[in-house]
């Protein structure tokens, strides 16, 4: 049958980019972009970076300029949360009871910030995922005197950086002995995390949160080793959970995300695709099965889905890539450091000169971390893509 109506559920990067990619690839049928948030599609990376600065804008950073969004000629259905899918009658139902039929469905419902159990309703406890989250933090940060950040991965580190830029010191609480050790190993994780103490924040590692204190508003954080930290603002950055609850019972195969083929068709049902944080597939370059929660991955998925639906050529696969801005420095990570062993490291984050290379047992570069040197990052990206030896990545001068 002719595809006359494509429904994209999720208005963040993956969903909106999928709509753009479908139009770029010539789909001229009915296109509906439906999502829970009431805001026009906006970009998330700035929320934990420049939008926490003292002079930050109070308007959401639009993902697509208004005129470009209008030019897509799509129907935006904002403020509607998908609650169920019936793939036999090809209908998505939303929380207001309305039904949304489709010929092709794209699931781009993303992930939710993981919360600490038992903290709902306690004032002063935040996560940072949405524009509303960022607005709440913009308002809470200036008055905060004792900030505790739970989790010292990227969101936690960027939050600490933003607080430090305001002259507010924070205490970071990290479960692992070294932040990001599970991704980058303890050596590089340590070189990145050192900047917190250098910048006046406190980093507590190898300890978890046992409880939050306070009646209406948080007053303290009790750690698993019995210590108590005073707190009037707690930000929880302990990962994200894919938004798949609405697919239960639909036949879509869900296992830490929507399980997909390489071209991002959802397993278990026909005419359904998934894109972005919620989509799980075997990565075409490195063979790793899993979700990738990176901004660039959502962009790439969008075009993979659009290619699959429209029958066009798939875009060339790219290695995972993520960046983080902390304390005036930009960290860039390409590939999958955890797939290899650390074979070279030099510099620090504070010095703006960190480089680290990870190689598999045959010496092939599988991942790299670079600070403030995009050209070096791009050399590493090429090497990872081409499965070149790490010694040919240009990270270290060739020896005679």
């Amino acid at each position: 049958m002719d595809v006359v109506k494509i429904l994209v559920v999720g208005t963040s990067v993956a969903g909106t980019r999928t709509a753009q990619a479908l139009r770029s690839r010539g789909f001229d049928g009915e296109l509906v972009l439906l999502g829970e948030e009431v805001h026009l599609p906006y970009d998330r990376p700035p929320l934990s970076k420049e939008l926490l600065a003292p002079d930050a804008s109070d308007e959401a950073p639009l993902l697509v300029p208004r005129d470009a969004l209008d030019a897509l000629e799509l129907r935006l259905e904002l403020g509607q949360r998908a609650t169920s899918l019936d793939p036999r009658s090809r209908v998505v139902t939303t929380d207001d009871g309305s039904e949304h039929p489709y010929d092709r469905l794209v699931v781009a419902t993303g992930a939710d910030a993981r919360r600490l159990p038992g903290t709902d309703g306690l004032g002063g406890v935040h996560t940072l995922r949405t524009w509303d989250d960022a607005r709440a933090l913009q308002q809470a940060l200036p008055a905060a005197r004792s900030v505790v950040v739970v989790g010292a991965s990227f969101i936690g580190a960027e939050l600490a950086s933003a607080a430090a830029a305001r002259g507010t010191s924070v205490t970071l609480v990290e479960m692992q002995p070294v932040p990001l050790a599970h991704v980058l190993g303890p050596e590089v994780g340590g070189r990145l995390a050192a900047i917190h103490e250098e910048s006046g924040s406190t980093l507590l590692t190898g300890v978890g949160v046992a409880a939050l204190e306070g009646d209406a508003h948080v007053t303290g954080v009790v750690l698993t080793d019995g210590r108590r930290l005073p707190a009037d603002l707690v930000v929880v950055g302990v990962g994200a959970v894919p938004r798949t609850e609405w697919l239960e019972g639909s036949g879509v195969v869900v296992a830490d995300g929507v399980r997909c083929s390489e071209d991002l068709r959802a397993e278990g049902v026909d005419d359904v695709w998934a894109a972005g944080d919620v989509a799980r597939r075997t990565h075409p370059l490195d063979g790793v099965d899993g979700r990738v929660e990176h901004w660039t991955n959502a962009n790439e998925h969008a075009d993979v889905v659009a290619a699959s639906i429209t029958g066009g050529p798939a875009p060339p696969p790219a290695p995972p890539y993520v960046w983080s801005d902390q304390y005036g420095h930009r960290i860039q990570i390409v590939g999958r450091p955890a797939l290899g062993a650390l074979v070279h490291v030099a510099g620090t984050l504070g010095g703006g000169d960190l480089v680290a290379a990870y190689a598999d047992p045959t010496g092939v570069l599988v991942g790299a971390v670079v600070v403030d040197d995009p050209r070096a990052l791009m050399r590493c990206r090429k090497a990872v893509t081409r499965r070149a030896a790490w010694t040919d990545s240009g990270l270290v001068p060739a020896t005679a």
Partner: protein, 105 residues
């Protein structure tokens, strides 16, 4: 009318590298492919303000922005992948007597 701006001597730009052309506004980037061909485009990525002359990466006849990995066709300036959706302006390049000129209108 079109002005011709001398950018550099041919051997001042290594193959596979880019540079921002001094004194241009809006800024222009000059690129030299590994194959030795010269191209000129808008200096900033069309997705977000970022200098491609300073930090763009050349892959064959494609230009990649190292911030968000947008790719462009060097010849046409057209975007080849998201997040870029707008083409880069392109400028005519003339190589004459070992010198590289860009046509800046």
């Amino acid at each position: 009318m079109t002005d011709r701006l001398r950018v550099c001597a041919v051997d001042e730009l290594d193959p596979g590298t880019s540079m921002t052309v001094a004194g241009t506004s809006p800024a222009i980037a000059l690129h030299r492919t590994e194959g030795g061909d010269f191209f000129a485009t808008a200096d900033s990525c069309s997705h977000e303000e970022w200098s491609l002359g300073e930090e763009g990466d050349l892959e064959g006849d494609e230009l990649v922005c190292p911030l968000h990995m947008a790719r462009f066709d060097l010849r046409s300036g057209k975007p080849l992948c998201l997040p870029a959706t707008l083409a880069l302006a392109t400028y005519h390049v003339v190589v004459e007597g070992g010198e590289v000129f860009v046509a800046a209108t």
